[in-house]
Amino acid sequence: MAATVTEPGSSLKYKTGDWRAFRPVVDKEKCVNCLLCWIYCPDSAITREEKWVAINYDYCKGCGVCAHECPKQAIRMEEEQK
């Protein structure tokens, strides 16, 4: 009732990635792992993995900053199919 949340700490369950209209997809052929996307991501939704960066789609809101900043055009913004 009235959007009352009866469980504490429940914001951890709120995946803001639902807001996304466009999904960034990394082309591993083009990526040079320069980490500019990792630096620029305003939501810290890009993580460093062993070889390449990974995108945390639970929190990526699809702003496209990563794709814009990528010097190799290795990130493509694909429309979400919902």
Binding site: M1, A2, A3, T4, V5, T6, P8, S10, D18, W19
Partner: protein, 391 residues
């Protein structure tokens, strides 16, 4: 029970006192001031165990009420006119957060030009705020409805705020004999509020959480459902109240409707005058009647349809203008309610009493005669009648 001389404002304050409210947060404004003034005296004299929050504005008053209500407290406030307008933002939050606050509203005109007298412009401006809205006819009804309002608001199936509307000055400042119940009778009728959630560190809750496109709509739909529960709850409460007071209430009140062909439908104090005029006309064999709406929101659609099904001509009184619309708010509601009815009367709208302009029995008699004429001819001569205005 004791009959005591009281103004409408005093009756509301006395009812709030007997309702054992936990918190009052309010700001004075004519013609409501006496309500909160009397209540502050009860607090100062130690007659009540209520926390009285002095605030700097009506916006803050209702904000404090919302916060208090969310802790599980029983909360009361009162306002009027510009004060209600200033509360407007918080009114939607009170209903959206399902706070069963009861508020006395001394209906008064809105500026500009500035005016302190009674009309319904203030509450009609907040009619879509999700509050339950009750309009009373006199000080007795103001007292009775205030007590019943807490029961309706706090019912688990409802959990919504209620405004008890009383016409500025005509009811708020007019002294009448009010039949007051004994404290213990009210206490038994109105037991301690059983809130759905409370402010408890052991059971923490988040209120006012963010809801976007994914859930907001569903919560608004829930409010519609809650409003649909109001009428059965009100009827149950009114029945119980009749047992303790001998006074029976409902969603609307009628006079002469068993055979009325020409009818006046109105809210609040106007009904008393209309009934008196109708009584006189009926003594002369005129088939006239009066419908007084007690519960304006949620609008009692089925009852309005049923009571008007054999009426030939209907004059709907609006004490406020809905600028740019075809009719005043009450008339629009009545027309909507009757839109799908098989039989419906010829309807015209009467705009009257703005800024406290007096409505005399002769004015209402004029409207009844107009309605009788319409009933006879089937012709509406004027869709909207501005009663008592200089043009």
């Amino acid at each position: 029970m004791t009959v005591t001389g009281m103004t409408g404002d005093e009756a509301v304050a006395h009812a709030a006192k007997q309702s054992k409210v936990d918190i009052v947060a309010a700001y004075p404004i004519t013609p409501q001031t006496i309500i909160v003034e009397r209540f502050s005296k009860y607090v100062a004299d130690g007659e009540v165990q209520t926390g009285y929050v002095c605030v700097e504005s009506e916006h803050s008053a209702l904000s404090a009420c919302i916060g208090s209500s969310l802790t599980g407290a029983r909360v009361f406030t009162a306002t009027s006119s510009q004060g209600l307008a200033l509360m407007h933002e918080m009114m939607y939050i009170a209903s959206g957060l399902r706070c069963p606050i009861v508020m006395g509203v001394a209906n008064r005109a809105l500026s500009a030009p500035i005016n302190i007298h009674g009309d319904h412009s203030d509450m009609m401006g907040s009619r879509d705020s999700g509050w339950i809205q009750i309009y009373v006819e006199n000080a007795q009804e103001a007292y009775d409805w205030t007590i019943q309002a807490f029961r309706i608001a706090e019912d688990m199936a409802v959990q919504l705020p209620v405004s008890v509307n009383l016409d500025g000055f005509i009811i708020t400042h007019c002294m009448e004999g009010v039949d007051v119940l004994d404290d213990d009778v009210v206490a038994k009728f109105l037991q301690t509020r059983q809130p759905m959630f409370t402010l408890d560190p052991k059971k923490p809750v988040t209120v006012g959480a963010l809801c976007f496109t994914d859930y907001y709509f569903e919560f608004k739909r829930q409010q519609v459902e809650a409003l649909a529960h109001v009428q059965p709850v009100l009827e149950k409460v009114a029945k119980e109240y009749k047992n303790i007071s001998g006074r029976g209430y409902g969603v609307l009140d009628t006079y002469g409707m068993e055979d009325a062909e020409a009818t006046v439908l109105c809210l609040g104090s106007t009904a008393g005058t209309a009934r008196e005029v109708a009584r006189k006309l009926r003594a002369h064999g005129k088939k006239v009647g009066v419908v007084k709406i007690w519960l304006y929101r949620p609008f009692p659609i089925d009852e309005v349809r049923a009571v008007l099904k054999n009426v030939k001509a209907l004059a709907v009184f609006d004490k406020a203008i809905s600028f740019g619309a075809q009719y005043g708010a009450v008339c629009s509601d009545v027309v909507s309610a009757l839109h799908t009815a098989e039989k419906r009367p010829k309807i015209f709208n009467v705009i009257f009493g703005l800024g406290g302009r007096d409505i005399k029995p002769s004015d209402i008699e004029h409207v009844f005669n107009e309605a009788l004429q319409t009933a006879k001819s089937g012709v509406i001569r004027q869709e909207t009648l501005f009663l008592g205005v200089r043009e």
